[in-house]
Amino acid sequence: MAEINCEGRSTREINSEIRRVIAAGDADIVLKNPLARHNLGVAILDPVRIRIEGSVGYYCAGLIDGPRFEIMESAGWGLAESMMGGEVVVHGSAGNGAAAAIRGGTVVIHGDAAARLGVSMKGGTVLVAGSCGYMAGFMGQKGTMIVCGDAGDAFADSMYETVCFVGGNVAGLGTDAVVESPGKDDIAFLDSTLAQYLPGSQKRGNDFKKIVAGRKLWNFDKREWKVWQEAL
């Protein structure tokens, strides 16, 4: 296991050291004293495990494909942004725009997520043990979002094919978001995902409501101008 002490080093030096350690063949890396700094562990494309012992700032684990990040405290804006694959687990809370535009992989947030969770996600899974803030799921194109607690206002606004599950209350649905009852497959998926990532959770698959796009905004029809008037 390689240990990298962030103290006294610039972010560029830390990220270069991570790459050097990976190139040398070490697959387990621990970052100490991260001090909530921005841009740590960006664009790592190898199946390594990186544990960050503390909080991280903006854009941690962005653009990654393959590694598993474990952040022991909280994360700032843009966590795992545009991730292609891998896992990012945050033991604290996450700031705005967590898991935005991810294309694959899994993001797990043990605390709460702030505004714009998983906006424009194009694949992958986002799992929040706590609650999420304003406008989560906006324009989600694919993938799955699971929020065990409450969801904020404008939830799942203007989505394409992202599927959302909420275990608590939704403060307000976004435009074209509709609530469905989860099917058998949905409940089985939720149970297995919770068992894998949040084994201590009291939630069960049938506790969740399912929220998907109503598909009324997918195609423009001038005869439905009232729908668009409300949406815009």
Binding site: E7, G8, S10, T11, R12, L35, A36, R37, H38, G54, S55, G57, Y58, E73, S74, G76, W77, G92, S93, A94, G95, N96, G111, D112, A114, A115, R116, G133, Y134, M135, G152, D153
Partner: protein, 312 residues
């Protein structure tokens, strides 16, 4: 010694707030807030400032007057000293661009302010309060410390600001925190844009409210002072602000006994917070809190439209 790396591009103003829950008036609030500001210095290198609350309340008002932005102030100090000599002034002192003195609690603050500011076009009463003291200047938090030794100031709570100017001048008056002129012990710091600033300013100016700057943050202080004057509590005033002030903003507000924040209706500006049994800390970025306050605690981002107020 903790080294903070400002290696990121200039982004936008940084704001910080700290409230010691248990400590008496000798808590090292100046040191904590300065440490938080240093970590955010790269967000806004144009100016830095703090508003600290903590001087023992002996019923007198502390007055801080800006003499000018630069140059030799000896003549201005003599002018000011002579003018206020007959008003029962005590503790008159000068440091760099500021004169500081105290006046009796029964003083008419509006009249005092007018009389001071009519002496010289550069004079501005930067703060008045039983406990409030605002110190700000252009340049970095390190410059602020070198000039005013902010880290030595003790107190109970306070707010701080590092500024990246986007729309108005870079000078001491346009720096933050802002005091709402005429309303004692109220200071605000703001990161963002008040998009209906010009509309609000016009309305206030029609009612003869004087604006000292072209900084949209100034209207926040004026607005909140007006709300508090009408009898609203700070939390209610901040809720009303969400209704009346448009734009993207995170604001911190401190009064004699309170620290509060408000986050805009779209959550477009960052603000994180932590609260323990001992303290409350709020900042634009978590790095500010982690850099200045050791220990184990959790930090979270404030949610959209969130308003919080802590009382001492």
């Amino acid at each position: 010694m903790l080294v903070v790396y400002c290696e990121y591009p200039k982004t936008m103003c940084g704001i910080v707030g700290f409230l010691a829950k248990r400590s008496d008036q000798q808590a090292a609030v100046g040191c904590t807030i300065l440490g938080m500001l240093k970590a955010l210095g790269c967000r806004g290198p144009d100016s830095a400032g703090v508003a600290l609350f903590g001087s023992p309340d002996d019923g007198r008002y502390i007055v801080r007057v800006k003499l000018g932005d630069s140059g030799e102030f000896d003549n201005k100090v003599r002018l000011l000293a002579g003018a206020v000599d007959a008003t029962g002034v005590q503790d008159f002192s000068t440091t760099a661009s500021y004169v500081r003195f105290t006046v009796a609690g029964a003083t008419d603050l509006q009249r005092l302010t007018r009389s001071i500011e009519s002496l010289d076009r550069d004079f501005e009463v930067v703060s008045i309060g039983h406990k409030l003291e605002i110190v700000k200047q252009t340049g970095s938090p390190e410059n602020l410390e070198n000039t005013y030794h902010v880290s030595r100031l003790k107190g109970t709570h306070g707010v701080g600001h590092t500024r990246l100017s986007t729309e108005s001048r870079v000078d001491l008056s346009h720096s933050q925190p802002f005091w709402s002129h005429g309303y004692p012990d109220l200071a605000i710091v703001h990161n963002g844009h008040i998009t209906n600033y010009h509309q609000l300013r016009r309305r206030y100016e029609q009612r003869a409210v004087h604006f000292y700057t072209e900084n949209d943050s100034e209207v926040v202080a004026i607005y909140l002072a007006e709300q508090l004057k009408t009898g609203a509590g700070l939390e209610e005033a901040l809720q009303r602000m969400l209704r009346d002030l448009d734009g993207s903003y995170s604001c911190l507000v401190a009064t004699e006994r309170q620290l509060g924040f408000v986050k805009d209706t779209f959550a477009l500006k960052p603000l994180v917070m932590t609260e323990t049994d001992d303290f409350v800390a709020v900042a634009t970025e978590e790095i500010a809190i982690r850099s200045a306050i050791p220990g184990t605690y959790s930090v979270r981002e404030a949610q959209v439209r969130e308003v919080r107020v802590w009382q001492r």
